[in-house]
């Protein structure tokens, strides 16, 4: 079943066109990655889906409903969560409060408690820093917090924008293991990554953006062996 | 425009310029004066105007700012071709407004710029085109000091003045000078700022200095609160002031009981029963739904006085008007009978009023 469908989506920033008629489909339960060079429009794609940026034309269907005109806050309530680029944690709130805000739309108190516990199990570092102001965390700690916070709304579709940026290799490994678990328990994932190697290894399918256009798409394994891709994105 | 200068008398109306504080922090006073002037001009025009022409008011706002007051003066004198400029309300703005008037030789008359040096320059020479129709600060200050020391026989005064007002400062200086020479002692002097609302701290200080009398040279809005709060703190000494007290608002704010024992100098007694005054009060009340205050009355009188001078001048001409103004003798207004002296200041008697159960009552008159 198709969970998210973008068709002929275009986005402008003032006079600059960041996305040109892109179309994508993400099925229930999949992991799809979106890769591309700096400035190719990956972040823009995610921001448009989650309602932070408005399209200029095209459609966004989520569970067959048009969400392109809905405010971002409503979209979250429909089960879509976006872990933004650059962490964007609330710097003058404690780690714990940041997580509370992550669960702010939820009404099931017990479920939330359980998920809190799980977050701290996933990221023990956050437990150690529970009452520290989030703004003083190290870069990587902030990244963990951002991911944990994004998961607390119990999304059906998780959008991740460069989750590995600035993380130690070991943590990256851990986080991707966690993401795998999350995917296996039924969350669909759309992953934006600079580390194309990692992304293609992790995902089922992938889209490659170039200057706001979908340049290539297909099975991740196939793309991993595509000469063009290897040259341009894998540094081979 | 340059070249052929049209003269101010050419139009089919007589133009008077109003340069007033209609916005900004002293817009209350400006608005009151303008109401008085407009009311008078309406009456005059209904009675046929002056010199057979209707009076036209060119009303311009100076934002309560000195720079704007100068600008407005200049504009009225050069663009609007008025025969005279009325205003501004405060001494400070009048001082800013007068250079362009002098420069363009257009009479400027203020009904409320009480500072002594409005009509005189630094060397003590009279400014040719500037007139005022209100008491000078020194006159009222001296009057009240005399009243306190001689009539009431109270020799310990506390002063509570408005630090931001030149009027208040002028009255204070004059009062202190005279009072001292009469053997009186200023036991406390405190200051507030216009628009303050809480005076209890200052009053507490004053109370501790145990004065016989409290002199408050300010305007009714603050004075009302001061008297009220003083009484609340249990201070029941007499309160003295000047024409700034004159407003129905004073009673409203302070309450009738609290006003007992309040004395102030004024142009006239609003409790006056003379026909003119009563007629003015009734018709004004009909128009505005409130009794006139001192500013209303002063504005009203000034308009009539200028009209009177214009009639005497015989034609609409700035120079002739100036001469006529200088020649004003025993002009009968609501606020008393007034003549203009050599320094372009009014010579008129001051009335001292005592507030009894909320009614300002005539107590005595003092000639200048």
């Amino acid at each position: 079943m198709t969970l998210l469908k973008l068709s002929n989506l275009s986005v402008h920033y003032g006079a600059i066109q960041a996305l040109r008629n892109i179309s994508m489909e993400i099925n229930q339960g999949e992991v799809v990655s979106l890769i591309g060079a700096n400035g190719s429009g990956k972040t823009t794609t995610l921001r448009t889906i989650s309602g932070l940026v408005r399209k200029s034309s095209g459609d966004i269907l989520y569970e067959n409903k048009d969400i392109s005109r809905k405010p971002a806050s409503d979209i979250v309530k429909m089960g879509l969560s976006h872990v933004p680029e650059g962490r964007r944690i609330f710097p003058r709130m404690s780690v714990y409060e940041n997580l509370e805000v992550g669960a702010i739309t939820r009404k099931d108190k017990e479920g939330v408690q359980k998920d809190f516990k799980r977050s701290f199990e996933l990221f023990p570092r956050l437990l150690e820093r529970k009452h520290q102001m989030a703004g003083t965390l190290s870069g990587g700690e902030q990244q963990m917090l951002a991911i944990a916070r994004g998961l607390l709304s119990r999304p059906r579709l998780l959008l991740l924008d460069e989750p590995s940026m600035g993380l130690a290799p070991l943590i990256v490994e851990e986080i991707f293991t966690i993401l795998r678990d999350i995917n296996e328990t039924g969350t669909t994932i759309l992953l934006v990554e600079q580390n194309a190697n990692l992304a293609l290894n992790f995902s089922d399918r992938a889209y490659i953006l170039k200057n706001g256009i979908i340049d290539l798409q297909g099975n991740s394994k196939d793309l991993l062996h595509n000469e063009e891709v290897r040259k341009a994105y894998l540094g081979a | 425009g340059c070249g052929a200068k049209e003269s101010v008398g050419d139009g089919d109306t007589v133009k008077l310029g109003l340069n007033y504080e209609l916005s900004g922090n002293v817009s209350t006073y400006g608005t009151s004066l303008v109401n008085g002037i407009e009311f008078a001009v309406k009456e005059i025009n209904e009675k046929g105007g002056v010199l057979g022409k209707q009076i036209e008011l060119v009303k311009v706002d100076n934002k309560s700012s000195g720079e704007e007051a100068a600008n407005v003066s200049s504009r009225l004198a050069t663009r609007d071709k008025v025969v005279a400029i009325l205003g501004p309300a405060t001494s400070g703005n009048t001082k800013s407004a007068l250079p362009p008037a002098e420069e363009n030789k257009v009479p400027l008359i203020s009904a409320s710029a009480t500072a002594d040096d409005v009509t005189l320059d630094a060397n003590g020479n009279v400014r040719q085109y500037v007139f005022k129709t209100c008491f000078s600060d020194s006159f009222q200050g001296v009057t009240m000091a005399n009243f306190a020391a001689k009539e009431l026989g109270l020799l310990k005064t506390a002063i509570l003045r408005d630090n931001t007002s030149d009027y208040s400062q002028g009255l204070t200086d004059a009062y202190k000078g005279t009072y001292g020479s009469l053997g009186g002692e200023i036991v406390a002097e405190e200051a507030y700022q216009a628009k303050d609302t809480d005076f209890k701290t200052l009053l507490t200080n004053i109370k501790a200095s145990e004065p016989d009398v409290l002199f408050v040279p300010g305007y009714y809005e603050e004075v009302g609160l001061i008297i009220k709060q003083a009484r609340e703190l249990g201070m029941d000494m007499p309160v003295l002031g000047a024409d700034g007290f004159d407003s129905p608002k004073l009673l409203e704010i302070a309450g009738a009981d609290n006003l007992n024992g309040t004395y102030y100098s004024n142009h006239y007694s609003s409790g006056d029963t003379s026909e003119d005054v009563v007629a003015f009060k009734t018709s004004f009340n009909k128009e505005f739904g409130a009794d006139p205050d001192a500013f209303n009355a002063l504005g009203y009188d000034m308009a009539y006085m200028v009209a009177d001078a214009l009639e005497r001048a015989g034609e609409v001409d700035r120079e002739k008007l100036k001469e006529a103004l200088e020649a004003t003798e025993n002009f009968e207004g609501i606020t008393g009978t007034l003549s203009i002296d050599d320094f372009h200041n009014p010579v008129k008697a001051v009335t001292i009023l005592e507030v009894k159960d909320g009614v300002p009552t005539y107590l005595m008159k003092q000639q200048p």
Partner: protein
């Protein structure tokens, strides 16, 4: 790098001289009468104030709500020197510049640590303190103001000082000092790390800005004859800031144009006192929403084309 005697510079100098002569001749011919000239003086003073505030707020990013205080210090300094002590105007101007610049150092040094809104509030407080001192200082007349200051400000003084202000401040800005100052606005930490002595520059721009505001005050006092502390209150500071913002933060040309534009707006509202401030408020709001720079951009382009 442009050299000093380039074609461009010569054209600029010629244009400046032309403007000066034009107004001078028009005054002599009586085309510019006292009323127009009074407005020219007001606008000129506002230009000096706005350009100097732009250095502090527009370029360096130090939000100041107390610029009128520097003007006030200059006005009183010159008032005392020329009226009370009877000294010539040049002494008044230098005294005003010096006094205001000192005040600039005085407020600049302690408020170094403050940023954004906190600095704005501190400067607002500074402005009020100056006003209150003025109100209480008998020597300078207190609330009664300082009267009968000789009128020395004329077209030559006014124009000369406007040119001086613009040249000094734009030359300062187009040097490495200017880059340093702008970098402070952009990112103070990075700027510090690149070796910019941010403290020095902050105090320096406050001092330069104050100095010119002080001179503007001298021009004011010696034109309008009379000054009082309330003429230089919070609202005056806001007026200057509005000019700067309308003209564009970091645009000197913009400040000049908007000083003229706003004076005209104010003049056209004098005749409707009841609604004046309401309309002014609405105009301000519209300017802020529709990006002031955008309104002035076409005019600015035109001016640039001609230059």
């Amino acid at each position: 790098m442009k050299e000093l005697i380039s074609r461009n510079n010569i054209i600029k100098i010629m244009m400046v001289l032309a403007v000066y002569l034009l107004v001078y001749l028009m005054m002599n011919a009586g085309i510019i009468d006292s009323y127009i000239f009074l407005n020219i003086v007001s606008i000129g003073i506002n230009i000096i104030l706005a350009v100097s505030l732009n250095l502090i707020t527009g370029f360096t990013g130090q939000l100041s709500l107390g610029h009128a205080a520097f003007m006030s210090i200059g006005a009183y300094a010159s008032g005392i020197l020329t009226a009370k002590l009877g000294l010539p105007f040049i002494v008044g101007i230098l005294g005003a510049a010096l006094a205001a610049a000192l005040a600039g150092v005085l407020i600049g040094v302690p408020t170094l640590r403050l940023k954004g809104d906190y600095l704005a509030i501190a400067t607002l407080g500074f402005g009020e303190i100056i006003r209150i001192i003025g109100l209480n200082w008998k020597y300078i007349g207190g609330a009664m103001g300082l009267n009968d200051i000789p009128r020395y400000t004329n077209w030559t003084w006014l124009f000369g000082i406007i040119v001086l202000t613009v040249v000094v401040i734009s030359n300062f800005l187009s040097s490495y000092n200017g880059r340093a100052v702008i970098s402070i606005k952009e990112d103070e930490i990075a700027s510090t790390s690149m070796g910019v002595n941010t403290n020095y520059y902050k105090v320096l721009v406050f001092t330069i800005g104050a100095l010119f505001a002080g001179i503007a005050g001298a021009l004011y006092a010696n034109y309008f004859y009379f000054i009082k502390p309330d003429s230089f209150g919070f609202m005056k500071s806001v007026d200057i800031l509005v000019i700067v913002v309308l003209g564009g933060l970091g645009s000197i040309r913009g400040s000049i144009l908007s000083a003229i534009a706003l004076s005209l707006v104010s003049l056209s509202l004098q005749g409707i006192p009841e609604l004046r401030m309401v309309i002014y408020a609405v105009i301000l709001f519209i300017m802020m929403v529709y990006k002031p720079q955008r309104i002035l951009e076409p005019i600015r382009k035109l001016v640039r084309k001609e230059a």
